[in-house]
Symmetry: C2
Subunit: 229 residues, 2 copies
């Protein structure tokens, strides 16, 4: 069955899906949805995801959206995905779900809205929104110390004391990478105090070489352009 | 292994866990965390959930928080839970994950914040926050028509065209029940236009008799008190 991944490499959850597929030798067709041109709101794309958001996948008869749901599906449906990505052990799996659920209302809620409203809204033809950015910043600055002192509290290279990455590491690190779109000093203000977080990002990059950087290349390029302006 | 459920019956995700256990004959000790007195922020409770939120569970060595993660764990760890709650079929399961992930950033994001900031903040010693309520209302009024026209689009009594409830039905309906805390005319303004949503709420109540109403009784009582004021 053919797998199509609809996304855009500047979208953090899209990158997570693409990196996961590449790291696990899952063949897929990458269909780029042109977000700046509003293609995600087109009737054609809404046939695939009525919510008008990327990423989404089609696999056989299944149309699926929401990146965590997609990661779990791919880890379960494709043989050959190593157990550490989404462990069959119920307790380990439960804790990964807990991280992913926490992510929704905390890190992602803060980071995505902060970057959008303080930096990249004009790319989508929208004005910056300092008030929404300030509100989002509260969630971002509360989330990072929780990752540092709670989710990374156990010895181990990854979240929850694991020595190999899970879908939770991939999802959260791709989210934090979005801070690359900020000015360097702003990014450093957020991440600077959190040494474990910084090390964990490096561990994740290293564990998913060369796919991590290859898929992030589009982000690095947009970042360089924004920082030059 | 003993199961302890830490929660409060006026908390919508706490109710979902308790109802799930009762409906599936899972024995548990209910430990009420006195939210108005701030017991969820106590050092004792933060030993169980460092995020200081209910619900949380302890099952053997496992401490777990985030209600969706808990529901999935309970459905997986206890034999005798009927398959419809969290189907083993990968496609059905994927779609349930998709609903639950969508819920985080949409219905729950809107409903919980609207009810809190427009109505019950004073119970926790906080002022009402009309601006935050207005922001949350946008998410609430966008979410209900999506449930009506998308998640309930297929024939069937429950979400995704199912004829028996899943953990997604339980989670989302418990969230919507929180609107009982609003004045009746405000609640009706939100729910009135959505006949399928209203029918689905009734279907869920009926399918999980008598546990649904029994666990909601505390909410109905608080609602009656607030409406008298």
């Amino acid at each position: 069955m053919e797998l199509k991944v609809y996304g855009h490499r500047v979208s953090q959850p899209s990158r997570a899906i693409m990196i996961f597929c590449k790291a696990n030798n899952i063949e897929f067709e990458e269909v780029t949805i042109d977000l700046p041109k509003g293609q995600h709101k087109s009737p054609e794309f809404k046939e695939i995801n009525p919510m008008g958001q990327v990423p989404a996948i089609i696999h056989g008869e299944l149309k699926l959206f929401e990146s965590h749901a997609i990661l779990i599906y791919l880890a379960s449906a494709f043989t050959g995905v190593a157990d550490h990505w989404y462990p069959t052990d119920l307790v380990k799996r439960a804790k990964i779900h807990s991280v992913l659920d926490w992510h929704h209302s905390n890190l992602r809620h803060g980071s995505a809205a902060y970057v959008f409203n303080s930096r990249i809204a004009p790319v989508f033809g929208l004005p910056l929104n300092p008030q929404a950015a300030a509100e989002a910043e509260k969630f971002l600055i509360c989330s990072l110390p929780i990752i540092e002192s709670f989710w990374l509290q156990d010895s181990g290279l990854f979240l929850l004391g694991a020595n190999q990455p899970s879908i939770a590491d991939l999802s959260l690190v791709c989210e934090i990478m979005q801070l690359e779109l900020l000015d360097e000093n702003v990014r450093d203000r957020f991440l600077g105090p959190y040494k474990k977080v910084q090390q964990w990002i490096e561990n994740t990059k290293n564990a998913i070489k060369p796919h991590f950087d290859e898929v992030h290349d589009a982000l690095y390029q947009v970042s360089a352009t924004l920082r030059k302006k």
